[in-house]
Amino acid sequence: MNVTRGFTGRPRAHRPGLPPGQYDAGDDWPVLSAEVTPDLAPAEWTFRVDGLVAAPRTWDWDEAHALPESAYEGDIHCVTSWSKFGVRFGGVSLDAFLAAVRPDASATHAVAYSHTGYTTNLPLSDLTGGRAWIAWEYDGKPLAAEHGGPARLLVPHLYFWKSAKWIAGLRLLDHDEPGFWEQNGYHARGNPWEEQRYAGD
């Protein structure tokens, strides 16, 4: 252990929900996107699922909102080391979209892509079973553009760069294909509980 002389740090927070190496950002919600925030109206927003599926499909805003509502209440964790507790998102479970397109048995991974061209890769198993959403509400209000509105992917059990803002689609694949940050040295999966920040972690 390399102890830093004179460093004591914050009072120890006994938060069972805080993954290793993270701190509680409190009311802050930092914005860290690398691109210009797009000016994207709900009427222009679409979400497509294709690739290794039986019935590729595109939803517009109203069609997506016709699916059963689903909410996430819990925590989110950013690779830059802040975590935010007790957030509330509203939208639709990704399971509802996937049920409509019927993934092939050969599909193992997905690339999520944004209306800006941003991409991120995920194992399909991280997107199913009630653990991933298309979210358009935060705290009961429309999701702000700088946080990914009108709609973003939400995969809260992974570091938050996996929760692509301004989500435009998912392409299902039979292999893993690194996305934007993953090509820039970040971890392929990004599990905060195993501190999978960078490739090799």
């Binding site: 390399n2 930092p30 080391s81 209306h115 061209g117 700088e146 689609g169």
Partner: protein, 251 residues
């Protein structure tokens, strides 16, 4: 039904350089060798990192402090120094109100102290010195941009480079003594005699975009989210292509 997806906008994919996964995975000891005050709220910390494998301007690192009970705190910081400094790197840190890491640096750190670093990280905001660079920063957001300015100077690069740097006032302007003809400071609260006060505006960008070099500018924007939103919108309105704007937001 034919459906091909075309994003309405594209941004600057991919990163500028390939990154070393080995360097990113490895924690190394960095020994503090020097502390230089820059402004009342910011200071530069110079470290010896003998096994540092080198970085490009614009890259950052992760820094970790460890308490004697094993508690750790880690943060991302942009690298301020140019990459041609053998075995040494510099960081310039704001003293963040209540910040446990920046607080230690500003109130407790002394030459000889050891911290842990891993990096350099990420190739997205890196500038290898190849394309004309239009740099826009505010506050400590100037730090990664200064690495680019220093690199440009140290190597005598001929590729055009301009820096617009926003600060509250002259006393808050980090690296004030180092700027040359490439830099235009913008003062938002107080300014020297004869210099206008006001936030970054279209009139600051217009002359730079008017002198656009062959191949166009690669724009690098760094600062708080509020500043990054403001500056990137100004750039888009002034005609800078959205896929030639790279943003590093401090949060």
């Amino acid at each position: 039904m034919t459906e091909t997806f075309t994003p309405p906008t594209r941004f600057a994919v991919p990163g500028r350089i390939a990154v070393s996964n080995r360097a990113a995975a490895l924690w190394q000891t960095a020994t503090l060798t020097e502390i230089r005050r820059e402004t009342p709220h910011a200071a530069t910390f110079r470290f010896a990192v003998p096994a540092w494998e080198g970085h490009l301007p614009g890259q950052h690192l992760m820094l970790r402090l460890t308490a004697d009970d094993g508690y750790t705190a880690q943060r991302h910081y942009s690298i301020a120094s140019a990459p041609d400094d053998d075995g040494h790197i510099e960081l310039t840190l704001d003293h963040v109100d209540g910040g446990e890491v920046s607080g230690w640096f500003h109130t407790g750190a002394q030459p000889g102290d050891e911290v842990q670093v891993r990096g350099p990280l990420s190739g997205f905001f890196a500038w290898p010195g190849d394309r004309p660079a239009l740099l826009i920063g505010a506050g400590s957001g100037v730090v990664p941009l200064m690495s680019m300015v220093r690199h440009h100077r140290a190597r005598g690069l001929g590729v055009p480079l301009r820096l617009l740097v926003s600060a509250r006032g002259p006393e808050e302007l980090i690296y004030a003594r180092e700027y040359g003809a490439e830099t235009t400071p913008v003062f938002t609260r107080s300014a020297p005699e004869g210099v206008p006060v006001g936030r970054l505006a279209a009139r600051h960008l217009a002359p730079l975009l008017a002198e656009e070099p062959a191949g166009g500018w690669e724009a690098y924007v760094c600062g708080s989210n509020a500043f990054a939103e403001h500056a990137s919108r100004l750039l888009v309105r002034a005609g800078q292509p959205v896929d030639r704007i790279r943003i590093e937001r401090f949060g």
